[in-house]
């Protein structure tokens, strides 16, 4: 069965006339072949985006994306959908800005509505002392041509009336750094859109196929062992997010990565209440980000659970921290009931920044270490990582994310928290 050709107003009309059966699955089941030019391990956002760009930009025909569970089962379906590029370091803000520009046109590029909503991202300052740091970050962004606005209480009140920044709080709000082009993107649609677009270009997406080992000889990898049999591959990319540590263990290469849990939760849906994304980071007070999904639920998240874990269950006291900090910001949501809570496994690096580089062999690549910034970087990561895998040379945008930076001391420690993944 072939997939539906394309989505448009014209297609809606044709579907109406054709009746039932016009809409087909987004991508169709393909059988695993014996050999591929490129095997991508992990059908999450980064794996699928890289496969899409390899096929579209570099014309590579034989690509497989192998997925242990289901497309979008991992962090691409577990994040809180926020996209932004409000970073201090040039290495970071140029990369995330590249992603943000791609988000703006992604629906058209994929012919799939990913519901990019530039509703703004509001980074709140809880004390006047935070302002200089925010101003510095905002100025660094503006020098790079990225929009950033330092708002006082009056401007913030006009921008987000529901927040009522002058309201008496335990930790009064002092102002905010706002990025208006930041916002949200529907996360599931990103996984499905990339999978559909990649499959349409001939990429084989194989679900329920776990990679268990890499066969190599004379310093070159020749293929991967999977639960569906051996697959030959000329080049291999690992984009396994929360299980990147396992890839290191499998290849016998220690990585500067620990796996931590990050949880999120959503309330019952209510009418439109919050017009932007609120982020409040205050050590000791708790950390929270709150936004309202298109369905109406208030989505909340906070800091990592705080110790290595693969359980995908959040700890209860962290949930309480997140709710307390969110209710402190928006007392009007205190009566809402939480209907779902979940957690994702995060591949936390020692400096909080990702790794896109070769791993052990000349033809094995790693796209990992996204910490909790993986979702917003998907389009930039896919394009740049595809260029690295296709040509063997990393584009300038991802050169700073090389694995050797830990050894040479070129860390990108945006938070300055030291080599402790839990503090990033």
């Amino acid at each position: 069965m072939t997939p539906t050709p394309g989505y448009s107003a014209w297609a809606l009309l044709r579907a109406r006339l054709a009746g039932a059966g016009y809409w087909r699955p987004l991508w169709t089941g393909r059988r695993l072949q014996e050999a591929y030019e490129i095997v991508v391990v992990g059908a999450g956002g980064h794996g699928l985006a890289t496969a899409f760009h390899l096929a579209r930009d570099h014309g590579i025909k034989r690509i497989a994306v192998l997925e242990k569970r289901l497309v979008g089962y991992g962090n691409v379906g577990r994040n809180t959908t926020i996209v932004r590029s409000n970073y201090l370091y040039p290495e970071n803000h140029y990369f995330y800005e590249d992603a943000l520009r791609r988000w703006a046109t992604l629906s058209r590029d994929l012919n799939y509505n990913v519901m990019y909503s530039p509703r703004g991202v509001v980074d709140l300052a809880i004390s006047a002392d935070e302002f200089p740091a925010m101003a510095r970050r905002g100025n660094a962004m503006r020098l790079a041509g990225i929009d950033a606005e330092l708002m006082d209480l009056g401007a913030l009140e006009r921008y987000c009336p529901e927040l009522a920044p002058r309201r008496t709080r335990r930790f009064p709000i002092a102002g905010a750094l706002v990025q208006r082009r930041g916002g949200t993107v529907r996360h599931d649609a990103v996984a499905w859109g990339y999978a559909r677009a990649a499959a349409a270009l001939g990429v084989d997406i194989i679900e329920d196929c776990e990679v268990t080992g890499v066969r190599a000889a004379a310093g070159v990898a020749h293929g991967v062992e999977t639960t569906q049999g051996y697959v030959k591959a000329e080049r291999i990319l690992f984009a396994t997010a929360g299980h990147t540590g396992m890839v290191g263990t499998m290849l016998g290469v220690p990585l500067p990565i620990e796996t931590h849990l990050l949880q999120a939760m959503v309330t019952e849906p209510v009418k439109p209440l919050l017009n932007t994304v609120l982020i409040s980071v205050f050590p000791g007070h708790g950390e929270a980000y709150v936004l309202q999904s298109d369905r109406g639920g208030l989505v909340m998240g906070g800091h990592l659970d705080g110790f290595p874990s693969f359980t995908r269950e959040g700890r209860w006291d962290r949930m309480e921290d997140v709710v307390a900090a969110s209710v402190d910001l928006l007392p009007q949501i205190a009566g809402l009931r939480i209907v779902r809570q979940w957690a994702g496994t995060n591949d936390m690096t020692m400096d909080g920044c990702p790794i896109i580089d070769r791993l052990k062999y000349d033809n094995v690549f790693l796209n990992a270490g996204w910490c909790y910034g993986g979702f917003k970087s998907i389009p930039a990561s896919g394009a740049a990582c595809a260029a690295l895998v296709a040509t063997g040379n990393p584009p300038d945008l991802i050169v700073p994310f090389r694995l050797s930076r830990f050894e040479t001391g070129h860390l990108l420690d945006e938070r300055g928290g030291g080599p402790f993944p839990v503090r990033q």
């Binding site: 540590g245 396992m246 290191g248 263990t249 220690p254 990585l255 500067p256 990565i257 620990e258 796996t259 705080g306 110790f307 290595p308 874990s309 693969f310 359980t311 269950e313 700890r315 209860w316 006291d317 020692m350 830990f406 050894e407 080599p419 402790f420 839990v422």
Partner: protein, 80 residues
Amino acid sequence: MTRLTCPFCGLRALEEFEFRKTLPNAGDSPFARTYERIDSLTESAEHWQHVHGCRAWLEIRRNPSTGEVLCTRLLGGALP
């Protein structure tokens, strides 16, 4: 995993404790000790502190896939 056992205070709520770091397990060079880790699905050796209690530093071995605590000892003390 909702509670941990402190050798001094007994079984206490998880929020009284703070995870400090995982123990180096990848090599002996200063670089490996600082940055590199070998992830295991079944065992993680860590330093914790009973911050909101007796403030003792503990070495805890846990199964990170289930949360089960395999053993706990006072840092510098003998293994149980």
